[in-house]
Symmetry: C2
Subunit: 216 residues, 2 copies
Amino acid sequence: MLNPAKPSDTNAPSHDQVYRQMRTRIMHGELAPGTALTLRGLGREFGVSMTPAREAIRRLAAEGALTLSSSGRVTTPDLGNDRIEELAALRGLLEPELASRALPRAHIALIDRLQVINQTIAEAISKQDPVAYLRTNLEFHRTLYLRAQAPAMLAMTETVWLQLGPTMCALYGRLRRTEPPQNHRTIIAALRAGDEPGLRLAVRTDVTQGLKMLVG
Amino acid sequence: MLNPAKPSDTNAPSHDQVYRQMRTRIMHGELAPGTALTLRGLGREFGVSMTPAREAIRRLAAEGALTLSSSGRVTTPDLGNDRIEELAALRGLLEPELASRALPRAHIALIDRLQVINQTIAEAISKQDPVAYLRTNLEFHRTLYLRAQAPAMLAMTETVWLQLGPTMCALYGRLRRTEPPQNHRTIIAALRAGDEPGLRLAVRTDVTQGLKMLVG
DNA sequence: GCATAGTTTATGTGATCACAAAATCACCAC
DNA sequence: GTGGTGATTTTGTGATCACATAAACTATGC
């Protein structure tokens, strides 16, 4: 076997499998804010004992994806407006920097891929599928930021996405948007033109505006 | 008992105690890069079983304070130059923002406290005590940033400090600096003058220059 | 009907064990 | 000496158990 880390790595430690599945669930907004999770419940669901479930939970809690009560009970975070604004500011700080670093390495093939993803986003919007919208929207950003060659910065940004996941779930479930992703077109245009300040602004706008309407 | 969370909380979960102690050790540069840690070793050291030690380790690994090998073995991270530069860029992005947010709330009492901490830093330098220097230096920054009322942003910044801890240990153990902290005086002056752009620049300079000389 | 006290259940914490894999060490051939 | 090979020890992983505490429920008294 040439590839030791296949997509579905069945010989990976089970705590890692639990961690990864729960992580994508939370980031994609499949869990509403305040959802309660239990070690034995997760263990039953994934067919493992409490031990791997506990490690996965604590790992997610360390990244801010889960909230621990004082008695150790764990729920998805239910953020207040000030915390949401702060996380939005963090996105507005980190993501333009990532985009700027990706700009010199953004070839045609990358821009084409972004356009394809953008179409998938439009489909998710027209189908009123919040989870698919959130997943493909993050895929758009991650695809761009991967070119920045800045793994620590990208990891930190994904941590912010994680923390916002349940909030996004509640947000997109509430308001039904029908607008196509205009900001993404601006981002692609700036990439094509090699316009660095324009790219920074477009990314910052895209990242900020979606969350501004929630706290209003 | 009016205060349920005393400084030395002996009734806190033991995994939390192990976590906190190891966290400050790493952040203060008491562990050299590449130091190997074992579950049973930590358990013996703290008088607990493997279980709490494991949770503490995994929590620290999730924050980037520890590196896990493919076989699950855990060491303090030994960062390459590109990763150091990236983390320095992260500090240069986050900390000026925190300082800027703290500026309108920086009263005289805070500035006085910063001056006192600055004297302690000078003492640590004259005594050639790298750990005390690192600890008081971080205390200077944290004292300022606490006023920003941005807990998520501060937590993210501390995560960066954590990741840089062992590297700082190696750095300050190598080169023997004798210069007093001039950048901190510039920061304090900008705080006094209410000079927001000057403060951002001073913080960015202080944060960046210390790490630039390492990668050179 | 409702609040409250007592009981029962559910849940997190920590210890211990068995197991497999990896690292270390020792020994031996060359 | 040096390189490789087998045995031994170390180490992480996961399961299971006992225990304490917090939540949920129930019954009882007013």
